[in-house]
Amino acid sequence: MTALDLNVGAEIGARIGTEIGTVRAKPAPAPRDVVSIAGRALRGVPRELETVIPPIFIALFFFVVNIGTLQSITERHIKGFDIKAFMLPTAILIGVTGVSRAGSLVLDIQDGYFDRLLLTPVRRLAILMGHMVADVAVACLLTVPILLLALALGVGIESGPIGVVAFIAMAGLWSLAFAGFGYAIALKTGNPAAVNSSFLLFFPFLFMTSSYVPRGQLTGWLNGIAAWNPVTYVLEGQRSLVTHGWQWADLGKALLAISVVGLLSMSLCLVALRGRTRRG
């Protein structure tokens, strides 16, 4: 019997089972749960372009305007400084920080669809992970137009094509780590306004750091804060890929910074998920 015969036989068997009403639910494997939820989240992206277009636009806008504003002054005063390469990670992080489906999750809670998911045998964690997998995919895609613009402006990636992949992956991981705060707020409050307010975290993270000039150029107090800001190390890790190649110390610090933020946000997320799905 060939594989084709077996497939046809299985299909006919399943069909007969359906017709006589013997189809019975069974727990799906965990990866299938995650893929199913992620698939739904990704299908929603083209239907909600308003959540994707602004981050790209803002990132491109700041990339171009910041270069125009700072190129002359920085390159004149800092020897060997390339403002375009320096600004690329800043633009990328501006674009991907805060990109998440947490807003959609709140709508699911409000529409009652979250309850429908809870009524199925799907693993509760898979609901969250499915959304996050989609977020990482979207964040990685968002980096592409900014990278293309940078390449068009003459920015070279010293670490090569694999470095580009690492650069994009780092942006995706940072996006995921930050998105955890939005999900935690979404699950805790079920309130869209509260989720939107998580955007406020964006400012201290992205502007009290070496976004516009190297850390050594920051004034004392801001330099002190930047030293404690994990985004500083994410930026420096990404910049190292662009301007110096594979600097393992910088990359290690970047991954550690992402891990610390991710650990905090995911812990909050899991507590909120447990609270939301607690039946007591």
Binding site: T18, V23, R40
Partner: protein, 369 residues
């Protein structure tokens, strides 16, 4: 009474009726337990919210293949009971077993065996109908071919044609309800919970939903737990009805039995001439309890009005031509009123109740007070 213990060892509750809370009725003769093994069984079920008791020591048993109507006014505890039975909430106290598994300790196994259509259609407006149903099937572990088969099976129920490929936000209320029901049925559940399934539907959509509920029960022997505040719905669909008020089950039995238990049927006739001689013509008929005549009107009290009405009509025709003949039976609202002192709905009827004659086809029966 034939009650089979659930697999988890929970003995089938001998859920005798809890009457007399308001000091009105203290007993009914209706059987309060199903005659088939229990698909849903609850003992002393309690659910509190911040000290407020929404479900108060609820005992009930629903037999496999039974349509059980859970009737009560808004805020009586119907939806909370459903949310506990379908594992969305844990009981504060007591125990419930659904499809053989404990809702508190084996919620995953319960979820595999139940389908639920909550009070508000729980749909994602941005997905298309087909996407939602396919995702639902995947989450229940069905293969692609199984999902295709179930979608074909449910085609008649869904009956929204090409709209299945459109975003759900473009659907009408009736279409959303049907899709919601289809989503609850994708995995072919053993027990189906319907929380006020026709709330907000127009009469045509309501009638279609009723027919589908009957078909699911008849053809698939599916156990259906149906909450409603519509008297007519419980009357029409349910094999047995449980009446809940303030979180407590105040009565349980067949709709006819519950109604009969609080009073007898009335046959009201108007004659073309004086009804003075009507008493002697009718009072000796079998099943007739009393006869009152006034002017051209005769009011006959009978044990079973439907059985007696033919003989009464013939007997009255020997006195004078019968112009109008009406059989009045007590309604479930009368039962609720008798037990609690309140109507289920402020006007004593559910939407559509006034149209009972049309929707039930009982042309000689006027359900009402």
């Amino acid at each position: 009474m034939n009650i089979t213990a659930a697999p988890t060892g929970l003995p089938a509750a001998g859920a005798e009726m809890t009457f007399g809370r308001h000091g009105r009725r203290t007993g009914m003769t209706q059987p309060s337990t199903p005659t088939r093994p229990a698909a849903i069984s609850a003992q002393g079920l309690v659910r509190e919210f911040n000290g407020l008791t929404a479900v108060d020591h609820l005992d009930l048993d629903v037999g496999r293949g039974e349509i059980y109507g859970f009737l009560g006014p808004n805020g009586a505890g119907k939806s909370t009971t459903v949310r506990v039975l379908c594992t969305l909430l844990s009981p504060t106290a007591g125990r419930a077993v659904v499809a053989g598994y404990d809702v508190a300790t084996q919620p995953g196994k319960v979820r595999l065996r139940i389908g639920v259509a909550l009070q508000e259609a729980a749909l994602d407006p941005k997905q298309t109908g087909i996407e939602l149903l396919r995702l639902q099937g995947r989450l229940y572990g069905l293969s692609r071919s199984e999902i295709d088969g179930r979608l074909a099976d449910l085609g008649q129920l869904i009956d929204i044609g090409d709209a299945l490929g459109r975003p759900i936000k473009t659907y009408s209320g009736g279409m959303k309800r049907r899709l919601d029901l289809a989503a609850a049925l994708v995995h072919n559940p053993e027990v189906l919970f319907l929380d006020e399934p026709t709330s907000g539907l127009d009469p045509v959509s309501r009638a279609r939903m009723w027919e589908e509920v009957r078909r699911l029960n008849r053809e698939l022997d599916m156990t259906i737990f149906l909450t409603t505040q519509y008297l007519e719905e419980a009357d029409e669909l349910a094999d047995r009805v449980g009446i809940i008020n303030d979180g407590r089950l105040v009565a349980q039995g067949t709709p006819d039995g519950l109604k009969r238990s609080i009073g007898n049927d009335l046959i009201v006739a108007r004659l073309d001439a004086s009804a003075a001689r009507a008493r002697e013509a009718v009072e000796s008929l079998p099943g007739v309890l009393s006869v009152e005549a006034k002017g051209d009107e005769v009011v006959v009290t009978a044990i079973d009005g439907a059985e007696a009405i033919g003989a009464v009509a013939v007997a009255l025709n020997t006195v004078a031509a019968v112009r109008h003949l009406t059989l009045r039976t007590p309604t479930l609202d009368d039962v609720f009123l008798e037990l609690t002192g309140n109507h289920i709905q402020p006007n004593g009827r559910g939407p559509g109740e006034a149209g009972t004659d049309e929707t039930t086809g009982r042309e000689t029966v006027e359900v009402g007070r």
